[in-house]
Amino acid sequence: MRADRQLPRLPAAALLVLAAALAAAGCDRDRVAGESAEPAGGEPRRGGQVVIGFSSDIAGVNQLIHASNRPTESVLRQVYLQLVRENADFESGPPTFRPDLAERWEWSDDHETVTFHLRDDAGWSDGRPVTAADVRFSWQAQIHPDVAWDTAYYKESITDVEVVDPYTVRFHFSRVYPSQLLELNEGYILPAHVFGEIPFEQWRTHGQWFREHAVYAGPFVIESWTPQQEIVLARNERYYDPELPRLDRAIFRVIPDASSRVTQLLSGGTDFTDSLSPEDAARIERDPRLEVKDFWGPAYMYIGWNLRREPFDDARVRLALTLGIDRQTLVDNVWGSFGRVSHSPVLQNVWIHADDIEPHPYDPERAKRLLAERGWIDRDGDGVLDKDGQRLSFELMTNADNRQRVDATVLIQSHLARIGVEAVPRLVEFQTLLTRMEESDFDAVLAAWTLPTGLDFKYAFHTDEIGDGSNYIGYSNPEVDRLLDEIRAQPELTDAEPLLLELQRTLHRELPYTFLWESKRAVGINRRVHDVDANVLYVHYNLYDWWVEQ
């Protein structure tokens, strides 16, 4: 169904919501990248442990059968290998990669096959070597319909994974596209000799079995897992780099309550915590033993208008509504210094952001004129515009458990009231919000997407994605469809630059979404921990490099 959807990098990346939305069920992923390691005080030391505050327990040890939430992803990436690792350079250009299990790789001239040469010193924690057979097995599991991995659509253009010899493996593609490497690399290399004991048909009911039998090949192994309490990672003595990891142990401590996570960091109970609010970040910064690192992104917040319903089907009305919201005040109130007004699905810190876009200002007078031109006038003097006996009144829906969103709906209500538009906040439970979006049963929703680092926006704006896909607002514009298709047909992402700029300008003009804000993700770190190279997508990505003072 979802033939060639390319969301370069994060499967979850493109997806709905929640960057800041759900700490507990978090939906974007933590992942890798970069080489901006920060100079540390003194020589790296081997030994010691860190305690990391975590919003929720992990779902299990077999990535393919569990919900792809942030905590699970953060832990599993420490205990399994990938062929290559993506660098954290998505802000400055198309994603690049560095070796992991594969020492090197080369593409065929037609770019339809790629051959990976695996290192021969990678081993599972039970002593068996990691080989090409594991790579092929992992691919078979990823695409097996009964395993039903939620990111299987990444693999739809891979026709075969061929074991050339125990340390050489070749991927065959049915077509050429910009995100081939990114997508083939998604998912961890799983132990064929262990996980293969359970037929794929039974994977979904064997979470317990995998938990009891898993073996690992990453820098760490899961030493113990006490449900709802903690996951203890210990150094994998068989990891291919004998220098790493530096820590003996990393303990992921489950602390569901956000203020408790901050309190524990302040009291020294933990060394690291994620997703700080601006107030908490300020508190932590005042403590000389602690430091805060923050990053823009990875999500943007917007109002999605249901284009199947009047009057949202009219671009002039959408423009008027956008002009009627004082977005700067909104962002200042909701996020303070942790937010900025957004104008495009491409975040402002990303290389391809269209800087020439002239932001829509706050202009209530022009908004009123535009609405009047469309026949929306307050004829009955009740303070709300009307036309043909219909009042300009709609429900603005969002999930009640997200404070920023709830605050924003109330502010938007007051801004729009000034131009005679009645926006009624409707706060629902998160699952209900998803269901209502899926069924297109809403007037307008306040929601968010995480940036797809491969910059494929088809999921949200292409006509093909109406119905089964994520284009739940029902946006259909042949010009946008053409741009999205062409972007995906370029051999390299850099070739798509003019198309990506054109796409942003068109969306800014048409306003299927009213873009609201981008916000910061902030982490708090105890200064006794060094070489923490956190980034917005993968906050503990280089855990193996971290070291602590005596």
Partner: protein, 329 residues
């Protein structure tokens, strides 16, 4: 007596059946899809085929009536199914969480009893005095305080201002590697605060109940007779009045079990205590039908059993009630 027991048991089972049936319907009426939590809130990423297969694996593809009967039949055999959000047998998931909750709840009940009984007796003996009014006033205050507030205050005071107890969890980081004795001490250290909160939260009601129950008995004719016989006040109180007065108190512990379970939920969530309360909280959020239902059956059965046990204890402690039961046709 046996007939009485059998009748009570049958009624209890019927009640339990009604409870889970109602819950089954209500759960399925909640908007949302358990597969949604499974797909990280991004159901649209699953293909129609994947979705259909997943629904089949978890039995969600059948009509709700069939699902209900199948669930009931399996549950009757002791098969609680596979947790949708955890992909593990429900019985295992609950089995891991249950000991922590039992430990917490029993400690809390012991704390409640240790505080309420002496205070209640003391207040009853000084009926009308300032100390009696103080105990009653404090009891009322505690009774009125929401337990989540008490929990948050306890954390603030004893884990933050005066950090003598850990703020959360059942063990220190990495405690699993400690020797047994240290692990035990660590567990007690972590148990203290949540158990105190949970125990003290119910004290308010219990202390007033003990006092009133004892006062009721002390006003009875046979107590007056005992006093008239010239027995010492001590003997009157401990030999003649205490047993009938404690009977309803024992019953109270059975009857307040729902409140205790409710407190367990709040306390466990606030203290990150790895028990059934926290599990229930997460299962409901994920719409994990099999897990929610199993927890409901467990806590429903506990409440019903608590009531039954309370009645039997009452009968054992109070000959008048026992006789009444035995005479029931």
């Amino acid at each position: 007596m046996t007939r009485y027991l059998l009748r009570r048991l049958a009624a209890s089972l019927l009640l339990l059946l009604l409870l889970v049936s109602l819950l089954f319907v209500l759960l399925h009426a909640v908007p949302g899809d358990p597969l949604n939590a499974l797909a990280g809130g991004q159901l649209e990423r699953l293909t129609a085929d994947q979705r259909a297969r997943l629904e089949r694996v978890y039995g969600l593809d059948r009509p709700i009536g069939v699902q209900y009967l199948a669930w009931l039949a399996a549950a009757a055999r002791g098969d609680w199914g596979i947790s949708i959000s955890r992909q593990r047998p429900v019985a295992r998931v609950i089995g891991e969480a249950l000991p922590a909750t039992v430990l917490l709840a029993l400690t809390a009940v012991a704390i409640d009893a240790a505080i309420s009984l002496p205070l209640g007796i003391w207040a009853a003996r000084r009926r009308g005095a300032a100390s009696d009014r103080l105990v009653r006033g404090l009891g009322l205050l505690l009774y009125a305080l929401p337990s989540f507030w008490l929990a948050l205050m306890a954390v603030y005071v004893f884990a933050y201002l005066v950090p003598i107890f850990p703020a959360s969890h059942a063990a220190d980081p990495g405690a699993a590697a400690l020797p047994a004795l240290e692990r035990f001490a660590d567990r007690l250290h972590h148990l203290a605060l949540p158990a105190l909160v949970l125990g003290v939260a119910t004290t308010g009601g219990t202390v007033r109940y003990v006092r009133n129950s004892l006062l009721g008995v002390l006003g009875q004719d046979y107590v007056r007779t005992a006093r008239a016989k010239g027995l010492s006040e001590r003997r009157v109180l401990w030999v003649h009045a205490m047993r009938p007065a404690l009977a309803p108190v024992l019953q109270l512990f059975g009857v307040t079990l729902p409140a205790l379970l409710n407190g367990v939920l709040v306390t466990e969530v606030i203290f990150s205590w790895p028990g059934i309360g926290q599990l229930a909280f997460q299962a409901i959020r994920a719409l994990d039908y099999p897990l929610v239902l199993a927890i409901a059956v467990l806590s429903g059965a506990l409440v019903i059993a608590g009531n039954l046990a309370a009645d039997l204890l009452h009968a054992a402690a109070d000959p008048r009630v026992r006789d009444a039961l035995l005479e029931t046709p």
